[in-house]
C-alpha cells in the first residue's frame, strides 16, 4: 500500500525518472568536463554556496515544519535536541557521530520525560 507513490512499476519509474533526469546528469557532466574545469572556479563557488544554503534550508524545513511522525514532538523539544546535538558536536571536536547520536538520544529522553517516565520507552 502506498499513499504517496503508485504501486508496482509506476512508482519505481517515477523515482528512476527523477534520479536519471534531475540528479545523475550533474555527475555525468562533472565526468565529461573532467580536467578542463577547475573545481575552484567562480561558478563552482556559487554552486557550492547555493547547494549549502539549500541543504541548510532543507534541514530547517524538516525540523521546523516536519511532515510525519516528528510533528508529534513539540517544536521546543526539537529545538532543544538540535541545540544539544550542536553543542556535543562542537565540544567533541566536530565529531559527527557524537552530534548526530547525541541529538537524537536527547530528543528521545526529552520525549520520555515529557510523556511521563521511562517505562514509555519500552512500549
Amino acid at each position: 500500500m502506498s499513499a504517496t507513490l503508485q504501486d508496482g512499476y509506476g512508482g519505481y519509474l517515477v523515482l528512476l525518472a527523477i534520479a536519471a533526469l534531475a540528479h545523475e546528469p550533474w555527475r555525468w557532466l562533472g565526468f565529461v568536463l573532467g580536467r578542463n574545469l577547475s573545481a575552484d572556479g567562480e561558478v563552482f563557488l556559487w554552486v557550492r554556496a547555493v547547494a549549502t544554503a539549500l541543504v541548510a534550508g532543507l534541514v530547517m524545513k524538516l525540523l521546523v515544519f516536519p511532515a510525519g511522525t516528528l510533528t508529534q514532538v513539540p517544536s521546543l523539544v526539537r529545538a532543544a535536541a538540535l541545540s544539544g546535538g550542536l553543542v556535543m558536536f562542537v565540544m567533541g571536536r566536530q565529531s559527527l557521530a557524537l552530534g548526530v547520536a547525541g541529538g537524537s538520544i536527547l530528543l528521545a529522553l526529552l520525549e520520555v520525560a515529557r510523556s511521563g517516565g521511562f517505562l514509555a520507552l519500552l512500549w
Binding site: 563557488l45 541548510a56 514532538v73 566536530q94
Partner: protein
C-alpha cells in the same frame, strides 16, 4: 589543478603520491585488494554515521507511506541522502513531480564540482573508461570526503579500484541502513521513530558545518536555514528553491566582496 577550496581539512593539496604516507596494505596490493580495502571503509566512523542517517531515511520512507522497495531503490539509483530525503519529503507533502525534480536538481548541482575535483585521482591513461564513468555515481559527500582523504596517498594504479570499493561500501551502508530503518520503524515506539527521523537533518546540518571553510559557507548555512522556514510560510512550493538560490547567491556575493 588544486583541490584546496573543496578539500576537507587535513587533505593534501597536491595530487602527487607520497610513498612514505601510503598505507601498509598498498605496498604490494592488487586491484582486488585495493577494492576490498575501499569496501571496508564503510566500517569507519563516517560509514557508521552514514548508516545511522540511512536508518532515519528508512524510517522516513515508511512514515511517508512508501515501501521497502522504494527505500532500497532510491538508495541505489540516487545514492545521495539529501536528494533521497527531498524526494520522500516532497512526495509526502503532495508536491508536484516538477517541484520534486527541481528541488532534487538543486541539491545535485553540487555534485558537479565535487565530481570534477575528484577526476585527477580516478582518470588515468590506460584505465578503463567504463569503470571511470561508473565511479562518478559514488560521488556524494561521504565517499567524496573519504576519497579525497585516502586516494592521494595511494599508488596511481590503485586509486580507481579503491574509490570504487569505497563507493560500493557506502552504497551498501546506505541501502542496509535504509532497509533496517524501514523494518525497525514498524516495531518501534513513536519516540524511537522520532529520534531516528531526527538524525537525518541533524547529520546534514553538522556535516555542512564540518565542511565549511570560508565565510561564504557560513553565510550560506545561516541564510539558507533562516530563509527556508520564512519562505515556507509564504510560498510552501518554492521555499527551498528560494532559500537555496537567494541565500546561496547572497552568501557568494558577500564572500567575494569580503575577499
Amino acid at each position: 589543478m588544486t583541490v584546496s577550496e573543496n578539500a576537507p581539512p587535513g587533505a593534501p593539496a597536491a595530487v602527487e603520491t607520497s610513498a612514505a604516507l601510503a598505507p601498509a596494505w598498498s605496498h604490494d596490493a592488487t586491484q582486488a585488494t585495493a577494492l576490498w580495502h575501499g569496501v571496508v571503509v564503510m566500517f569507519s566512523t563516517p560509514g557508521c554515521v552514514l548508516f545511522l542517517t540511512a536508518l532515519g531515511f528508512g524510517t522516513l520512507v515508511r512514515d511517508a507511506g512508501m515501501t521497502l522497495g522504494h527505500a532500497l531503490f532510491l538508495s541505489l539509483v540516487m545514492y545521495a541522502l539529501p536528494a533521497q530525503v527531498m524526494v520522500v519529503d516532497q512526495l509526502q507533502r503532495g508536491a508536484t513531480l516538477l517541484a520534486v525534480a527541481l528541488a532534487v536538481t538543486l541539491t545535485a548541482v553540487r555534485l558537479l564540482p565535487m565530481t570534477v575535483s575528484l577526476q585527477p585521482y580516478i582518470r588515468r591513461r590506460g584505465g578503463s573508461p567504463l569503470m571511470q564513468f561508473a565511479a562518478v555515481h559514488f560521488v556524494a559527500i561521504t565517499a567524496w570526503i573519504e576519497g579525497n582523504r585516502r586516494l592521494p596517498y595511494l599508488r596511481e594504479d590503485l586509486r580507481l579500484a579503491h574509490f570504487l570499493g569505497i563507493g560500493l561500501g557506502m552504497v551498501g551502508a546506505t541501502a542496509t541502513g535504509s532497509a533496517v530503518g524501514f523494518v525497525m520503524a514498524a516495531h518501534m515506539p513513536l519516540t524511537m521513530q522520532a529520534a531516528l527521523l531526527f538524525m537525518t537533518p541533524t547529520y546534514f546540518l553538522l556535516s555542512t558545518i564540518a565542511a565549511a571553510t570560508h565565510r561564504r559557507d557560513w553565510m550560506a548555512i545561516a541564510l539558507g536555514a533562516g530563509l527556508a522556514p520564512l519562505v515556507y510560510v509564504w510560498m510552501p512550493e518554492a521555499d527551498l528553491l528560494v532559500a537555496g538560490l537567494v541565500g546561496g547567491t547572497v552568501a557568494y556575493a558577500a564572500g567575494r566582496t569580503a575577499a
